[in-house]
């Protein structure tokens, strides 16, 4: 199929100036090929979320354009071109059980009940929540709620997954475990993922390519390819290569937060951990 050879997303000199005059993004260009795991890394306020929301078509670029699978947004959602956004918090409906929450995209699309239930069960199984379909969200821990949110994202069998700091609110141990699970899912399902994070270590561990962004104005500073084979396990986290990538990104982040023009960057934005 030639569908696998066309880029999933092309951001073509897209820039964003908000209604109040805030210049969130200078013109940005970025091409995402199928099967990539891209992380957007950068100090707070550099426009990572803005870029991701433009790619999700939640906000429009002020200038420039975005192509999805070489076309406009109309074709998004068709089989083979499904795009799903995972929010920073789980965003579950508190009145609905976990299974109903996960089934929501299928219900909205009018998928037949028995077929939907089958897919919900499979999706819950993928994230390790098969025992919890009949629980309410408040009965789950934060990490489990996030898993439920990912199960909901996977139930529609997305081709492109956009994730805005999905594990940002979790402790490090839980985050590492979810990272590893996500990476395995990406590998098995041949997904394309664009992932926003503040964490250098998360970026190195997950990505095939890290896009380092700088603030004021928001722009792409550098792209770093993480040339490591998959599957990646815990041994990668403690390897020389991992440390070298982390060091490189650390330097870039310091540069990013200093900023070339004003030098008024936030000194703590380059996250050291």
């Amino acid at each position: 199929m030639n569908a696998t050879t066309i880029p999933v997303v092309e951001v073509l000199s897209a820039e964003k100036v908000f209604g109040n005059g805030t210049r969130a993004l200078d013109p940005i260009s970025l091409t995402v090929e199928p099967g990539e795991f891209i992380t957007l890394l950068g100090p707070s306020g550099c426009g990572k979320s803005t870029l991701l929301k433009m790619i999700a078509n939640l906000i429009e670029p002020s200038e420039g354009r975005i192509n999805w699978w070489r076309g406009g947004h109309e074709a998004v959602g068709k089989p083979g071109r499904k795009l799903v956004f995972v929010f920073q918090d789980a965003t579950l409906m508190p009145w609905a059980k976990v299974a109903s929450n996960v089934r929501l995209p299928l219900d909205l699309a009018g998928v037949e009940r028995s077929e939907a239930d089958r897919r919900v069960a499979r999706s819950l199984d993928l994230v390790g929540l098969s025992q919890f379909g009949r629980h309410y969200p408040r009965q789950l821990s934060g990490g489990m709620q996030m898993r439920a949110s990912i199960a909901r994202a996977l139930v529609d069998e997305p081709d492109l997954l956009l994730m805005d700091e999905p594990f940002g609110a979790l402790d490090e141990i839980t985050r590492n475990r979810l990272d590893a699970d996500l990476l395995q899912l990406w590998h098995e399902k041949k997904l394309t993922i664009i992932f926003v994070t503040h964490s250098i270590y998360e970026a190195v561990f997950l990505s095939t390519r890290v896009v380092v962004m700088a603030a004021r104005p928001g722009r792409i500073l550098r792209e770093v390819i993480i040339d490591e084979p998959h599957p990646r396990g815990e041994s990668f986290r403690v390897s020389q290569a991992f440390a070298a990538y982390a060091r490189e990104l650390q330097h870039l982040l310091v540069e990013a937060s200093q900023g070339p023009a004003s030098g008024a960057g936030d000194p703590v934005a380059g996250e050291a951990a």
Partner: protein, 274 residues
């Protein structure tokens, strides 16, 4: 404090559900006892303050009269409450369709709310010949506002993340309403019900006072008026007692309804242990 772990139930006094019922009842009995005692101690005449025992005797003796009046007052209350919920909810749905509609109509809802019902009741009673619909209209005017304002607020209080999720899944307006806005609004709606049910009773009683309807459609307010004229103070107190009882019962009914509808998920209905 003794520990409450293990299979053994804690002593009665440490069970919150028992204390919550028993404590107010104990206070009530104490006050009634004090009242009875003071009345006898100072030999207060019945036409000033009757003893609780005298009120209870009247309640039994005049039961047929008082009970039929109670039924009439309750009928007005429930009809007004029902109409308030129906119209109030519809109005709220109209309001959330657009800011323009809400902005142009909301001030009139407020107008309805701030106008004292005693002031408009005579007009309504003149315009509407039948006493029952007239009373229901008056009580509805009092009871409808909390439903409108709470439900409108609830329908608007949707989690923006969930709204984005629905939009990204290309949900129709109808799906958005049914699956997102209505469930979000339910806790607010039930909050409105609690206030509104009490107001419907107050509205019914006030309207009866103004209308002064006697004969076969005499509600509890009429009995209070008559008892006042005849200086039948025990009967006045008995009627008052029935009104209060009806108010408490209505409130409890709303609490139960709200628990049935929200008990499985909403914070307001969750006990700390779960």
């Amino acid at each position: 404090m003794s520990t409450t772990s293990g299979k053994r139930l804690p002593p009665l006094m440490e069970r919150p559900e028992f204390v919550r019922v028993a404590a107010p009842i104990a206070v009530g009995c104490l006050l009634l006892g004090l009242w009875e005692w003071l009345v006898h101690l100072y030999a207060i005449p019945q036409y000033l303050v009757p003893a609780p025992s005298a009120i209870a005797r009247t309640l039994v003796a005049d039961w047929d009269l008082l009970f039929s009046s109670l039924l009439i007052t309750l009928k007005v209350t429930f009809l007004a409450f029902f109409v308030s919920v129906l119209i109030g909810t519809l109005v709220a749905f109209v309001f959330v369709q657009s800011r323009w509609i809400e902005m142009s109509l909301f001030p009139y809802a407020v107008l309805l709310q701030v106008t004292p019902v005693v002031a408009i009741a005579p007009l309504i009673i003149i315009w509407v010949k039948d006493p029952l619909p007239a009373l229901v209209i008056c009580a509805t005017i009092v009871a409808i506002f909390p439903i409108i304002s709470n439900t409108t607020l609830g329908l608007r209080s949707v989690n923006p993340g969930l709204l984005n999720l629905f939009r990204m899944n290309k949900a129709s307006r109808w799906q958005e309403l049914l699956r997102l806005r209505i469930p979000t609004a339910l806790p607010y709606f039930f909050g409105g019900l609690r206030i509104s049910s009490g107001l419907a009773l107050i509205g019914a009683v006030v309207a009866e006072f103004v209308a002064g309807t006697g004969g076969t459609s005499a509600g509890l307010a009429y009995q209070i008026l008559q008892a006042g004229f005849q200086i039948n103070i025990p009967r006045l107190f008995a009627a008052l007692f029935l009104i209060t009882l009806a108010g408490v019962a209505l409130f409890l009914l709303m609490v139960v309804l709200s628990r049935l509808a929200l008990g499985h998920w909403h914070e307001s209905e969750l006990t700390p242990e779960t």
